[in-house]
């Protein structure tokens, strides 16, 4: 009598293969999506860091220049003009291309300098940085810096 042997040639059925393929594709798509999002996020993050770092650097340059511009550092002939309108004078020096106190604008954001009148005689220099946020969910962002001319206390 011949013994019935198990069928060792039977593999996955077509249905099993299709279900497996669908599941695998779903997993792969998710992983892909995560990967793409991650890569895109990295690029956005890099851009943001670049913008913020540039603004921070610019702020520090402005503050350093302000601290260096003491009354003694201003030519005697210009001192009365400086003391007459200190904020205007400092802005003119910061924006004077080629001047020794020139601080160029950052390339990735727009910088504006203006005198802000807070009250009678109470004035500061308001520096505004404006840039488009690299994230799609955010719009235009600003950063604000106030400066008080360092040479004012020594003015007569």
């Amino acid at each position: 009598m011949k013994r019935h042997q198990p069928n060792h040639h039977s593999g996955f059925t077509l249905i099993e293969v299709l279900v497996g393929a669908v599941l695998l594709s779903i997993v792969m798509m998710s992983v892909n999506r995560i990967t793409v999002t991650t890569l895109a996020g990295n690029a956005t993050e890099k851009k943001r860091k670049q913008i913020e770092a540039e603004i921070q650097n610019n702020i520090q340059m402005l503050q350093r220049t302000n601290s260096q511009l003491t009354l003694d550092a201003i030519p005697v002939g210009d001192q009365s003009e400086a003391c007459e309108a200190p904020e205007v004078f400092l802005i003119s020096r910061l924006e004077q291309t080629g001047g020794s106190h020139y601080v160029p604008s950052p390339s990735l954001s727009k910088r504006t300098l203006q005198v802000s009148n807070l009250d009678r005689g109470w004035r500061v220099i308001e520096i505004m940085y404006e840039f488009d946020a690299p994230e799609k969910t955010l719009s235009t962002e600003t950063r604000l810096v106030n400066l008080h001319p360092n040479f004012i206390p020594n003015c007569p």
């Binding site: 060792h8 943001r48 601290s67 600003t142 604000l144 106030n146 008080h148």
Partner: protein
């Protein structure tokens, strides 16, 4: 020919569990890897935005500090608040004003006492943009305009604020290191008005607080601990600094009115309607020491005495000098009629003109003659000192008594008319008992008429008394000024129209020596003395 396929390989039963385990492990590793990547990304973003907020908070703190400093350094007339540099402003629940001296400036009961007692504090503090909040201790937005939000997302607007957490003043005099603590805050402000703090930082910043006299109107042309000023008159700019020991008489209603100030200085405005306004009472201030006039000075090694009374002469001449022995007629000094001349080369002889000459005079009494000292080439300081540690020479008073129509003045070489340069002739005395009243005290300097036409008088321990109506061009810094009901006229400018203080500052190099002046002071904060420190939480 038919090929037979090789029998399929099958996994032995004993290995089937291992395959399953490996598959599961592989899956687990993949899931863990993907999850880690995801978590890492999420945290990186959070960290990044948190750093961004922290930077905004640091900027807000620096900006807030600059705004406060700009306010305190404001030079606009009527908006001066530099006196705040002299007041601590730190929360202290044990104090009646909670430690916030700035906020009670104009409170009738809690108002702090300033050294410059009558400083106008009515200007107060700026109004906080939000009602019911106090500037600068409650969160102050940089702008109320929503368009200036630093960032806007679906949840709300990101805005920054500042507030002063504390200020430690250098001292009540307002000179030294002041320390500010300013907090920068970043908040997300929702459309409902609810705000959620996102980052905070505390900036600690120190600066040098300086006090100086900045205008001719504020210079003390007269300064005294004790004033009986009578019907004095000042021509030209300048103040009368009254160095008082208590602020109480000025703290009542109207205590700082010109009339009350005048009353407390025993004065009246009959001859000078501005006299009361010129009076400026200050606490805890001292007269400057006479070493203000020591710059590169050379002392004449002899002791001089001047007396034009033939009965009192020590050496047979009007002007005598002595070293260790008996007084001798001063060599080089000439007398012609009633004019006595001390030429440049007879005092501090053979010394450079650039060095001021200190002449010790133990006695000066002139009633009939004019004493002319050539001081156009060399600055002269007359020191009315008696020798220390030994009994005074008989007849020597250590004082200057000028009466009648004579003169004691500086002249140009070869000239007989007074050159009227008070900054070039200083009369001073460091010793004395600093009498607290005009009664029962002998005058270190007694004046009458125009007998001392131009000079700076500096007597930190002595008094100036009038023995008749008098006038003087210069400055008078004395322990006590006693007009004795005589009329005193002080001209505060040089013949060129320059304030005497300005001419003296140039001659004696006061700014270079760190002397910021005597008078009504203006406080200012100067950056650059120390490093900033930020604390985050």
């Amino acid at each position: 020919m038919k090929k037979s396929l090789p029998p399929p390989t099958t996994c032995p039963d004993q290995e089937k569990g291992v395959v399953v385990l490996m598959s599961l492990m592989l899956g687990l590793v993949m899931i863990a890897g993907v999850s880690a990547l995801l978590v890492n990304q999420i945290f990186a973003r959070r960290l990044s935005s948190s750093e961004s907020y922290q930077q905004m908070a640091e900027s807000a703190a620096v900006n807030g500090f600059n705004r406060i400093l700009a306010l305190l350094n404001n030079k606009e007339p009527g908006a001066y608040r530099g006196f705040l540099f002299t007041l601590d402003n730190q929360q202290n629940t044990a104090a009646s004003d909670n430690g916030y001296s700035w906020m009670v400036l104009n409170d009738s009961e809690l108002a702090p006492t300033l050294e410059e007692i009558c400083t106008n504090t009515a200007v107060g503090l700026p109004v906080h943009p939000t009602s019911n909040q106090l500037w600068p201790v409650d969160d102050v937005p940089f702008s109320l305009d929503n368009s200036t939000a630093q960032r806007s997302d679906q949840k709300g607007k990101i805005q920054s604020f500042y507030r002063l957490r504390g200020y430690a003043s250098p001292s009540s005099s307002g000179i030294g290191q002041g320390i500010f603590e300013v907090e920068g805050i970043v908040k997300r402000v929702h459309s409902s008005g609810f705000s959620q703090p996102l980052a905070r930082t505390l900036l600690t910043r120190s600066l040098y607080v300086n006090a100086s006299v900045i205008s001719d109107n504020d210079w003390a042309s007269i300064a005294a601990n004790h004033l009986e000023i009578g019907a004095a008159r000042m021509t030209g700019p300048g103040r009368i600094l009254h160095l008082v020991e208590s602020a109480t008489p000025y703290q009542s209603q109207g205590g700082c009115s010109p009339q009350n100030r005048l009353g407390l200085a025993a004065g009246n405005s009959q001859r000078d309607p501005t006299l009361g306004d010129r009076l400026w009472p200050v606490l805890n201030r001292e007269l400057p020491p006479s070493n203000l006039f020591n710059t590169d000075a050379i002392a004449d090694q002899r002791i001089w005495s001047v007396d034009d009374d033939p009965q009192n002469t020590l050496c047979g001449a009007d002007v005598c000098v002595r070293t260790n022995g008996n007084p001798q007629p001063a060599p080089g000094v000439t007398t012609s009629g009633n004019v006595i001349r001390i030429p440049r080369n007879s005092i501090c002889a053979n010394t450079p003109d650039s060095n001021p000459c200190h002449v010790y005079m133990e006695h000066v009494s002139l009633a009939n003659k004019r004493l002319l000292i050539e001081n156009d080439e060399q600055l002269i300081v007359i020191r009315l000192e008696l020798p220390q540690g030994v009994p005074p020479y008989p007849g020597m008073s250590g004082r200057m008594k000028l009466s009648g129509n004579q003169r004691f003045c500086g002249v140009n070489s070869g000239k007989t008319s007074c050159n009227m340069k008070p900054e070039r002739l200083v009369v001073t005395k460091t010793s004395g008992v600093a009498p607290k009243s005009c009664l029962n005290s002998e005058a270190e300097i007694g004046l009458k008429g125009n007998s001392l036409p131009a000079a700076i008088i500096s007597l930190p321990q002595g008094n100036l008394k009038l023995t008749g109506h008098s006038s003087l061009r210069g400055m008078v810094w004395v322990n006590a000024l006693c007009t004795n009901d005589y009329r005193f006229t002080l001209r505060t400018t040089t013949t060129n129209g320059e304030h005497v203080s300005a001419a003296a500052s140039d001659q004696w190099q006061w700014p270079k020596r760190g002397f910021q002046g005597l008078g009504r002071m203006v406080n200012r904060g100067i950056l650059g003395t120390d490093l900033d420190s930020f604390r985050q939480w």
